[in-house]
Structure formats: structure tokens, C-alpha cells
Symmetry: D2
Subunit: 374 residues, 4 copies
């Protein structure tokens, strides 16, 4: 079983991660770790790209010569600006953030003590863990991508694109959108919002390829794979909605058209020609691609700040202005990939057990053989 905890404030010394439960024998690809962290920082709409120093994750335990040994893995990601004890006192809570509720809950007069931890800075930790989980999954040909499908009212059409094509198209788009025309219009919307000192939310989609039939379970409600995935995506800062497969569109369709009929061929075994269920039926993976979408709200820190109340004197005020982005949906998608990778890896280890990569591979291969004989 995988377990993890993260720690760290956005202007603290560093972000810290501990991940327990990774099997031994996995060679960690530092290149992948690095590129995932970079992906999180790099889409159009974030702060000025040139100036952003890339995040560097240092694995400080759990490896020998670059290979996992079954020990917990700790990761440190240094913050660029370590000044948490000298930053100014804040008393003007920003609407849309943890500021006011957090200060009241924890009895903190200086709202800085809330926003340092509630900040999306913590997502860097999740991306680092996700990078390790992705590597584990890749050993079993499970592959994950995210791409942006809505920004600023612009809706991408990727219905005819393959997994591979979505990945290659999106990689060329500054906003991680696989529909070229939509990508351009999204950039225009972002530019316009920036000019108007405003921000944009949007929707990203995650696709997981290669998950075998039978992760998750209907036995107990908290073991349902979709519940775990939706819970994980919802736990990302600013995510306010999640859906699996056809999602909210199911409300408009009828049963006769809403499901994925079952077929069989010697070559493929059981299969479907549609995937409205998004790869999950009865709380379990059904062998088709897992498809999830999540909506990120517009970033609430605005250059043209919202009305609030000064908690010191209870008078109307303008919210504190922190440096911020115009649109971070692409980055949020990268965090989403990580969140999904962690849950899939966990369900995978729960099913296949195993303390070493060698053992899990043997168990996995045996199960695939069993499935083929079903």
C-alpha cells in the first residue's frame, strides 16, 4: 500500500515529501521527474516563463545507486524565496482562497500563516510523487496523459483523436490543448484576460491507457476506483468538479445509448467499441481507457482585487494581492496526472501485492494469463 505525506510552506525553506510502500527494484528516471516538474511550471498563462527558475526535486532517501530498495522515499524541493518569518502581516483575506476560513479555524491573526500552506505551491510535491508512480506504472505499460479541453469558453474537439495523437498535438500547444484551432483561441482568451487584469479557469482531461480489468472493487463503497480517483482530483487546489467518462452528459442521454456494449474476439478478448463509461464500471477498471475530466476555477488572486474585510478592524478593504497567474489549467492537468497516477498505482499494488518489481511482474503476468482464459 502506498501512503504519503507532504509538508512545506510556499515561502518556507523547502517542500518535503515522504512516500512509503514503493517496491524495490525500480530504477528512478531523474529525467522524467525533472520534466514532470517542469511541465507543471511551463504552460502559457503562468507567470513570465523566462524568470521562473525550474524546480529541482532531490530524492534524499529510499534509493541506492538510483534504484528503489523498498524503503520510504523522501524528496526535497527547495523554495526559491525562503522568507516565511519576515513576510508582512496580512489581515485582508482573499475571496476564493483558504484565507478567512483558515484563519478562523486555526485562530491565526496573521493570514500569512494560512496562505503559506494552502497555496498551490504544495502541488509540486504531488507531482514529484506522481512521477515515481508513473514510472512504476510504465513498467506495466500503463500510460497517463492530460490535455486541456476548455479555457475561457473555448472548447476543444478531440473526439476523433487517438491517445498518441492527443499527446503529440498537446505537446506542441502552449496551453497543452490537442485541438490546434482551439489552442490558438485559448491563447487569445488568456491574453485578453491578462490585459483586463482578470483570470480564467477551465477543464482538463486525463486519459489512462493500459489499466487491466479489475482494479478497485464494489465490495465496500470506499474501495470503488472512481470514488478514489474523483476524491484525489477534487483534492487538488481550485478543482471544483470532476467527471468520469460521459460525466454530466449522462443526464441528457437515455439508457439505450448510454452504455458500452460488450464484444469478443479471439485477438482482443472481451472489448467495447465505445467508452462512455470512461473505463470504469461497478467501481472497477473494465480494461478500456480511463477517462476523467476536472474543472479548475479561475485563480482568485486578481491584479484587480476583490472586496473583502480587514479582519483587524472589520472595515471594507481590497484583498491582498499576491503574484499570480492568469490561467493555470494546463499545470493543474499535470497535477491531476500525478493524483491519478498515485491512486492507480495504489490500487495496482493492492491487487498485485509484492515487495519487489520482479515479484509484481510475475503476479501481474499470471493474472493477465488468467484473464485471457476467462
Amino acid at each position: 500500500m502506498l501512503r504519503y505525506l507532504t509538508a512545506g510552506e510556499s515561502h518556507g525553506e523547502s517542500m518535503t515529501v515522504i512516500l512509503d510502500g514503493m517496491p524495490s527494484g525500480l530504477r528512478v528516471d531523474n529525467g522524467l521527474l525533472k520534466s514532470e516538474l517542469k511541465m507543471r511550471q511551463s504552460f502559457y498563462g503562468r507567470g513570465k516563463r523566462m524568470k521562473i527558475e525550474p524546480d529541482i526535486a532531490r530524492i534524499s532517501s529510499g534509493l541506492r545507486k538510483g534504484v528503489t530498495i523498498g524503503s520510504p522515499i523522501s524528496i526535497l524541493i527547495r523554495n526559491k524565496d525562503f522568507s516565511i518569518d519576515s513576510l508582512a502581516f496580512i489581515t485582508k483575506p482573499r475571496p476564493g482562497h483558504a484565507d478567512l476560513a483558515g484563519a478562523m479555524k486555526y485562530g491565526l491573526k496573521d493570514i500569512r500563516s494560512v496562505l503559506e500552506r494552502s497555496s498551490a505551491r504544495d502541488t509540486v510535491s504531488r507531482v514529484a510523487i506522481g512521477a515515481l508512480c508513473k514510472q512504476l506504472l510504465m513498467e506495466f505499460d500503463i500510460d497517463i496523459l492530460s490535455h486541456v479541453v476548455i479555457v475561457g469558453g473555448v472548447i476543444a474537439d478531440t473526439s476523433d483523436l487517438s491517445f498518441k495523437k492527443i499527446r503529440s498535438n498537446a505537446s506542441k500547444s502552449p496551453v497543452n490543448c490537442a485541438d490546434g484551432a482551439a489552442s490558438k483561441r485559448m491563447i487569445e482568451e488568456i491574453d485578453r484576460a491578462r490585459l483586463e487584469k482578470d483570470t480564467l479557469g477551465g477543464v482538463f482531461e486525463i486519459i489512462v491507457k493500459g489499466v487491466p480489468v479489475g482494479l478497485g472493487s464494489y465490495s465496500q463503497s470506499d474501495r470503488r476506483l472512481n470514488a478514489r480517483l474523483c476524491g484525489a482530483l477534487s483534492s487538488i487546489q481550485a478543482v471544483k468538479a470532476v467527471e468520469v467518462g460521459a460525466g454530466f452528459d449522462y443526464a441528457l442521454s437515455r439508457g439505450s445509448e448510454a452504455h458500452d456494449e460488450i464484444f469478443y474476439s479471439r485477438a482482443k478478448g472481451f472489448y467495447r467499441s465505445t467508452n462512455r463509461a470512461g473505463g470504469i464500471e461497478g467501481g472497477m477498471s473494465n480494461g478500456e481507457d480511463i477517462v476523467l475530466r476536472a474543472c479548475m476555477k479561475p485563480i482568485p488572486t486578481l491584479m484587480s482585487p476583490l472586496s473583502t474585510v480587514d479582519t483587524k478592524n472589520k472595515k471594507a478593504a481590497r484583498a491582498t494581492v499576491e503574484r499570480s497567474d492568469v490561467c493555470a489549467v494546463g499545470s493543474c492537468g499535470v497535477v491531476g496526472e500525478a493524483a491519478v497516477a498515485i491512486e492507480i498505482a495504489n490500487a495496482f499494488l493492492e491487487k498485485f501485492g509484492g515487495d519487489s518489481l520482479q515479484e509484481i511482474k510475475r503476479n501481474h503476468a499470471g493474472y493477465l494469463k488468467q484473464l485471457r482464459k476467462f
Copy 2:
């Protein structure tokens, strides 16, 4: 901390529930328990109402003279048709259900062994637990309702209605819809679908009133209240999408219009005049109503069955036909209320601790006083 497990198959002897962690001193209202179970069974679109015997939940431990004593509570709900060992062998998996993935995962030749547990029959257990949690929350003036907002393409408009008005309107609607005109059209859609041997999905909304500021936390991702609520709603059979507050609509709005500005008055303390966030900011309740929506897919068991494959001989076949409903969105909303009540109660006990109602009331009152002085 509340923990629970449920057990039981739809044609087994009974459904069984154990709930651990309820404080002592709560007088259980059997009338509420009964009415919640009845609500779950009774909306338009379910099987013929006249014939349905009401479910009866018997609390078999955890009470003395009707009052909780801090012991775990067990509940038994007898099934009407106890025939699990004599039912016919099934080899034609229904698309949209756990049938095929479950049989392959657990190595079960008789698909009956899957559908007995994966069935939505298990939701009766959740409703029973939820009824107890609701009673606990009512002691602290926390109140929960659900109402149907979309069925068969018909969208209800309840934007101007108060909590109280939504409840009273919905209670008069056979489909639990608070918009009278929409309610009528929903019924027509259900009738049409029934005639055409089809089924309908839809969307329900849940509103929770009276939650104090500060349940949940941003400290660790799995402690975020929205993540727990979205995970819990997603774990309900047939739910494929969930959203908080403006949800997916956030994708279309801009930051300047997407958040809830903060105000203060002597009488109310800090408050908002809008509630786009659905009562949750930074993973915590912010004192406004908590508003959630979930989409239920159309019931996949059709009187006019879908294509599938006979697992015995791998030949194309028509899916097994089980007795089923045309539309169960109203009932699903009742289950959703229960799922939400359980999570809110858990977050509540985590914050206020306490082994007896008396103790929790004292801790809660002290905190409210602290908030007023903030």
C-alpha cells in the same frame, strides 16, 4: 472518528451495517430512520409503488432504551426475497454494470455472484447510517436536503428559492423537484422513457445548512472537505460526476466574477452575498451553505436489453434482464444526502472531539464563541 462497514447481497438474508464512533447520549428517532428509508424507495420512476414493501431497519446493538451509549451501532435490514443460493446461473454480463469486470477480477463463473453485491441494494445501508448522522447533525442545527435538478433533459430553475422553499416544493413533487413546471415535464419524460422501454439519468443537488466555518483542512490533501464529499458522492452506484458550487460552470467564468466577496456586519459576522464556492474554500467549510451536485447515469438494466457476450461460449447475446426502474435520480439524491451527512458528521467529530453529546455541545458552543470574537 466515524467508521462503518456494510455487508449484504440483494437476494441474501439481510443487509448489515456496523457504525463505530457515534457519541453517547443521542436519542435515535426511529421515525426519521423509517422515513429516510421510505424516501429512498418512493419516487416516481421506481418500480410500481404499490407493490414495494417498505424497508425496515432494525438497530440490533449500540442503544439502550433508544439512546446511544458510545458502543458501535449495528443495523439489520431484511431482504424481501432471500433466494441467493437458488437463483439461476448468469453468463450474460450487462453493459454498464460491474458484471463482466467483477467476474473476471474475482474469477467468478456465475455472474450472479457479482451483481448480488454490486447492486444498488447496498445503498439502503448507507441511507440507514446517514439517518443516524443526520440526527447527530440536527443537534447542532445542521440540516441537509436533496432535490432533483435535471431529468431527461429537463432542467429545473431553483436559483431564487430558499433552502426552506426548495424543501417544501420538492416534497410535493413526485420526482423531488422543487420547480413545479419542470417537475411536470420530468414526469412526462419518465413516462415516455417507460413506454419506450428506456431509462433516464439526471442530476440532483444537495444543500447543507448550518455547517460552521472550519470543517476540513488544507493541511494535507486527503483532509480537504470537498475531496471527501466528492469522493463519497462518487462512491454511490451510478454516479459519474460531481461538482461543488458553480462546478463546471467555473470553466466559463472569469476570476473577477467567480468568487464570493467578503462582508461583515455586527449581526452576521463575516458573510458573503453570493455563494459560487458552494460553501467550501481552501478545503474547508466557510460558513455558507454547502452546495453539491451529482450526475447519475441512466440505469443500465433495460427491458430492451443491450448487446453482450455469453461468457460461457463467447457468442454474442442479449444482456440478462433484471427487474429495474426507469429513473432513480430522486432516490439517488436521498443516498447522496446520507453520503454527505456521514462525511460532515465525521469532519464535525474530528474538529469537536467528544465522546458524549453533552461534551460535543460544550466544545461546539465554545468554538462558536471563539469565532464571534475573531
Copy 3:
């Protein structure tokens, strides 16, 4: 992963158990379940044997035709005397029981509400779960026994006896003691204590045979197998001490004599000729028998009651007298076997994963082969 909850009061309607996580394909042996429950009731020193009606555990879900299907298993064990709501008010807490602390913690004026749940009656639930776990383990040639090693100051000597011999000897002893001479003297001590209206504690030993190398882990402290086993044994009513292998005797030995040197032979692979470690090194099973001992305190309910205080008026009083046993160490050992079986089964499933017996057997066989090649 196995999870369970139990519920029920000693004079309530029934004891209820839910066990989640058992794989499919295990044929439940009702005979074993019955005999384990009988064992728990039947040793010398318990209440008069003739009068005790045997406990009957009914599995009310999770099986089809006697075989597990991956669903949670619920078990009901009816109480003989269902009178919880009519029993007299108690205000004289018994020393050595939960009575006073429980009443104060939960704010319960009637101490009856405490003792109904804190009673050792709940151990019947654990024995029922343990019986299922034992059956699972037996599929992998893992076998568990308990025997009594100290009662009333009489110490059994079983140092030269094999697992098999201990079992057969103990099965002939009315006190479950494998040393015939000691068994006789224990009975005499019990008789004497009964005459003198007193009670006796003692020590039982548990041996688990056939556990493969590598259950548990040193990776994180709560994953150590010994910590889980000691925690589980300590959670049994009246158990006040636990030890693994040489246990407290380690305090008197030196390092040069305290450990188990390692040998190798073609036939056995790696092995030890001693087992001071009790089969656990570094928080993991090492392939030798797991050996645990636990001490049960004398039953605190005495026919000649202890001094206490009436909580109603704060005056000195004699403790309430409940029907009780003179010595229950043999029974406690049976509960201990169950507690150990549950933990071993859980660690086993964590290592080998698997949703069906077929799958776990394949994974287990593959691992044994890997070990032989090490």
C-alpha cells in the same frame, strides 16, 4: 486488505461482525467455525459447562453455497439472554473493569451501559473472524495453536515438545495445557481458587507454523509484524503483557547466546537450529515458527467483591457481582489465536495481493520459488 468491525452488547440481541477483504473462492468450513466457538467456551474454570448453550455463528452474507465471493462477510451470533433494556441500574463500579472510567468518559450514569460493551462477550466476534482467517491460512499450510503455560503459579514445561505434540497433549487437557503434570496441578489451583471465591490469571502461548519469510516490514514502524501482533494480542480483554520468542528473558541473556545463528542446506534452504527470536526478525517473519505469549490478569469480577464507591452518593460500597468464571486463560488463548490469525492473514494478503484464492495461490507459489532461488 482485511478490515473488520464488531458490534453488540452482552445482553443485547446479538453480536454482529462485518469482515471486508476476504478473497473469493474459499469454501467456509462451518465445522471449524463451530468448533472454534466451542473451544472458546469450554475450558475448565469457566462457568458450569453443562449449562452453557453453545454459541452459534450464522454467516448472513458474503457467501454463495458456502463459498466466499469477494463480498464482505457478516456474521450474527445470537445472545442467550436478551434483556439489555430491562436490566437494573448499576452505580457500583467494579475495580479492574471499564466500569468507572467508561461511565465518566461517556457521561453514563448507569454503569450497565458500559459493561455491556466492554464485556469479554465481544471476544466471540473475534473468534468467528479468526476462524475464517485460519481457513484462509490453512490453504497455504499455515497453522496456529494456543496452549496454556502458566496458571496459578504452575508453570508448564513444553520446551521439548513439537508443534504436533503440543497440540495433541493440550487437546487432552481440561485447561489446554500440553504438560500433563502441570495440567493436573493447574486444575487443583483452579479448584482451590473457586472454593476461596477467588480467580486466577495466567499465560498462554501461541505458535504459528508455516509462515513464509517476509511478512511485515521494517520500512515504517507500524508495518512491523511483531508490532501488529503485539498490538492485536494486547487488545484482548484482560491481556496485560505480551512477548515474542524469548521475550522478557532477553533481559537476562547476553548477545552471544540470544540470537539464532543461520545455516543452510540444500533440502531446507536457509534455516536456524534455535528460535529465540520467535520467528520474527527486523519486523518480518523469518521462516521459523512464530511464537508469542500473553498474560491474562485474574478476572476482576469476584464472588467476594472488592471495595468501590457508589457513584450515586459517593459512599463506600461493594462492587456489583456479575456471574463470572474462576479462570479463563484457556479461552483467552483461543481468542489470541483468532487475533493472531487475523493479523497474519492481513499481512499475507498485503504481500500476495489477490482477489481470488486461485490468484493468491499462484502469487504465493511464485514467491516460494523465488525464495528457493535466492
Copy 4:
């Protein structure tokens, strides 16, 4: 709820800790943290004292200006000798350590990869967490000590000493023993063992003062305070036995003499004049001092190494010699204090809830008042 994970290998870069769930408003006393870490290193029988550089724990997140803010706390403790990737390959497993079982479980050819994590070096992390929990508990007048009661066959007599006297006596003893005469003889035994290239185990006792009535619960077996405490102590490297109160001596006593009669006075409320139960009845604290003892086995790394097998060629060999101590019972007691502090703090927060010290103090005071009125 407190949760923590630790990471780090003994020759890795550093040990890392994350602790989630500490309330806001606690001023961290770095002096206490430092002195606890020093205590762990400093007793007679450890490696030569002069040469040991003290461990320094740096809190790298979770504080602002030295005060907790409700965020997770991360702690880094640098290792002196960071050489994990260059250390020699080991193939001679040491009996009494994780070496052989760990290598087989994780499929690791180089046993170095096992002993780096299974090493008692990890206890420094637990001591650091424990220091924070102790500070939290001290805010509520809960105080914890450990002292050594057996080493090398020498048994200390502290039966007539108060908590305060035990602490002051032990602080003057190089082996942390509160009985002056025994302390001297223990030192002699350690010297003798060192000369003979041998090692010694022993027993330490932990006493917790000031725990209010009612932490823990009998409601579910895993909620029993003694089970959690015994599990936590058992999870410390080399601990093989644990007991509460009279512990194994209960096996030799009779019920009439084994329990703690209950008295009442205006000034004290309910109290006992004996404490055989070690402060826990029915799985709950009963208001008396909590008394626990644990046995540490002799350190298995001997300067005169034990027989083993070379895993490379399966030939008989002498175990690897790592630098080691003669006797570490005093240090183990310091780790035990930490393990106990963490569990007590967790049970405390479960009962009193609360996100800030201010809130918990209010809840705690309210409960104490309730108890006085019982």
C-alpha cells in the same frame, strides 16, 4: 488526528520526518528537542561518548517564528556519514537483524540495502516527533519519563519512589537507573560484557503522569489505549516484550489481590491507593499514572560475530561486523518515551478535537469540570 511517516537510511543524506495534525499555537522548544535527541545518544554502554557528534534536528516546515500554524511539520536530521552509494556489498547476514529476511523479501542481493533502513538509526526520527508531542502534552500537565529497571541480570528496586524522585535519581545515573546501587552494578555488568566482546539487553519502564480519565475506548478493539501503546512500544527496534502495570506478574497473583479498589474523597474525586493496572482499565486511562515496561533484546551485532551463511555461495561464514554498542537500554527507553508520547497525544486529540491550542485547552477544561461533577 496525528499521522507521521519517517524516511532515511543510516548512511544516507539525512533522516526525514513529516508529522501531520499538530494544532496551531504551540511554541516549539528547541531546547527540549535538542535534549531529547542528546538523551537518546548518551547513556553508558553506547559507543564512546566523546566521539559522538550530537544529532541536530532542523524543523524545515510547519512553524512561523517558532510557533506551529496547523501545517504539517517536517524535520530533517543530517547523517554524519553520508556514503550509502559507496559502501561495500554485504552477503553475510547478521542473525538477530532484518538482514536475511529483508534481503529475501525484497529480492536484494546486497544486504546493505536492508540494514541501512532497518537500522535503529531510524529511532532518531521517532524521538524528534516524540519531543513535539511531549511539548503538546506538557501544555496539559501530562509528563512522561523512562528509567532502566533491568540490565545484565541486575534488577532495580524503585517501588517506593515517586515520579519526581525516579526522574531525579535516574538523571544522575549513567545508565538512567533510579536505584543507585543497581545502577553501579549495571555499569559493572556493561563493562564486563564489553571486555568479553558481548552485549546486554534489559528492561525499561515508562511512566506517564497526568493523563485524564477516558483516553482510548473499549468500543472497538483497535481503539484500546493499551493496545495502541503496546503496539507502539513493540514497533521499536529490538523490543521483544511489553507489559502494562503488573504485566506478567498477574499470572502469579489472584483476583482478590490483583486489582485496584476504588475510593472517593472531596479533594481527589475518585482515586485508587494501588496502581496494579498501570493506569489503564477497559482499554481506557483511569486517571492513575500509566506504567509500561518493555524488554530490549541484547544488540545482535557482536564484535565477536555469530555464525551465518554467505548468501552468495551458501557457505558458512561469520556475520558482518558493524560498529555497535554494548548496551542501549537507556536509549531505547528514550525512544519508548517518544513512542508513548505520540500515542497519548493522538488519543488526546481524538478526545478533545481542536485545531488550535486555545481550542483544545477550552475543551479539556470543560471535560475536567464535567468529570468533577460526575
